[in-house]
Amino acid sequence: MITTAPTPRPDLGRPMIRVEGLAKTFVLHTQGGAEIPVLRDTALTVHAGECVALHGPSGAGKSTLLRALYANYRPDAGHVWVRHGEGWVDMVTAPPRHVLAVRRRTMGHVSQFLRVIPRVPALDVVAEPLIAMGEGQATARDRAAGLLTRLNIPERLWPLAPATFSGGEQQRVNVARGFAAPRPILLLDEPTASLDRANRDGVVALIAEVKTAGTAVVGIFHDGDVRDAVSDRLFDLHPLGKAA
């Protein structure tokens, strides 16, 4: 059995993400230029070792904020400062190669759905982030195997591409991939949405471990039990009125 968590860090509690004045309005050109304001003047600081749950009704902008942290969505204004190595990178203005470097070394992300790549076996899907970090093939695969075991993915599935897996199996492969490489920041978008109770508990345990190790976690957890179990505080979001 592997331990997911790297050794505890001495720098628990220092800021890892600083969001300042973030704004995002979607303009739907294919639908008559409709404007949907989602974030306005959003500010948030996340520290090493804590888990912040984004909280609010559907349409409040939880996913938009999480995706903006990952630089998947491009805000119209504001900054997402991320501690990367010894410096800070603004994910809003950084050039693409710097954003990719932050994603590779500093910021992990578990999306809601696994984006399957044709022909790539589950074991390699999980090992890939470690290999991209420079870890050796054998070590990366060992760690991937350990995570898949913990998340109850039967060994006979490891050499198969996950395209044919069930929704729950795909999600667990996705979670394993997100936790494979130890990174100081982890973003989680509904990591337990299609899991049964036992597997949900497995994911909760993984989150608790990385927090202990000093990882700053930001997540969306619709399941109230999971949210209560993992989050240290809630960050409330409210839908913006159109007329605002």
Binding site: N72, R74, S111, R119, V120, A132
Partner: protein, 273 residues
């Protein structure tokens, strides 16, 4: 949004802030008709740039100018030669030096493998051509290298003496890729590398390309009209319409949060399989 094609961009931090290739206002006219206009970007070592847009948007024209096969009418294409920090205007190079560059540092993968292969000679000879052009002469070495590359692109080594005319479309395309990559280029241009192939054959080729590009740390410009191909292979995307770059960004940004009306139309028009 997975950055699955993550090459090790930050493997060597030194020199990373100097682009490998710089397009500066690249403009090309065909008489009174515009090919492409004012296309500007920097490409860094190990980066894969996808160029997407519909037929006639100027993608292939741009690729022709970038890869030195067509002179621009305005603007320039600059390349970092050797290990230096200086950028050289490739269209100002003497013809001979530009040709040498194209045989050593660069590679071009054509959509139709027949445009990139010599159909009348064996698979082994196709792979050996570029090494020979830069001085390799030892038959055993050339043959060993050809065999190695055939296996890397998943072609049986016992096909080494067969002519590509007898290969399937997918095999021909993989052979073309081996022929281009054998000399270890730093920059590869690909024009619809998976176009014209069956979907299952495409998947295999994409997987292979993804792996080779990451493993070799190649920089590449890939023209495709297929957004799924772009998502799998490219770190960054440039969207072209009517000869102009209307939007640029990280691949997942452009596809998941498209801003320009044309990009929104393009992304929303894709059929979900």
């Amino acid at each position: 949004m997975t950055a699955l094609c993550a090459a090790r961009l930050d493997a060597g931090a030194a020199g990373d802030d100097i682009p490998l290739l710089r397009a500066d206002g690249v403009t090309k006219w065909y008489g009174a008709r515009l090919g492409c206009a004012g296309v500007t970007f920097d490409l860094y070592p190990g980066e894969v740039l996808g160029v997407v847009g519909e037929s006639g948007s100027g993608k292939s024209t741009l690729l022709g100018v970038l890869s030195g096969r067509m002179p621009p009418d305005a603007g320039g294409v600059h390349y970092r030669m050797g290990g230096g920090a200086d950028l050289t205007d490739i269209h100002a190079l003497p013809e001979g030096r530009r040709r040498l560059l194209m045989r050593t540092d660069w590679g071009v993968v054509h959509q139709n493998p027949r445009d990139g292969l010599r159909m009348g000679v064996s698979a082994g000879a196709n792979i050996g051509e570029r090494p020979m052009a830069v001085g390799a002469r030892h038959y055993g070495t050339l043959r060993g290298q050809a065999g190695d590359w055939l296996s890397r692109v998943e072609i049986d080594a016992d096909r080494i003496d067969d002519r590509p005319s007898g290969f399937s479309g997918g095999m021909q395309q993989r052979l073309q890729i081996a022929r281009v990559l054998v000399n270890g280029p730093r920059l590869v241009f690909m024009d619809e590398p998976t176009g014209g192939l069956d979907v299952s054959v495409q998947a295999r080729l994409l997987d292979l390309l993804r792996d080779l590009v990451a493993r070799l740390g190649l920089a590449a410009v890939i023209v495709t009209h297929d957004l799924a191909v772009a998502r799998l292979l490219a770190h960054r995307l440039m969207v072209m319409k009517d000869g102009r770059a209307v939007e640029q960004g990280l691949t997942d940004q452009v596809l998941d949060d498209p801003r320009h009306p044309y990009t929104q139309l393009l992304v929303s028009s894709v059929l979900q399989a």
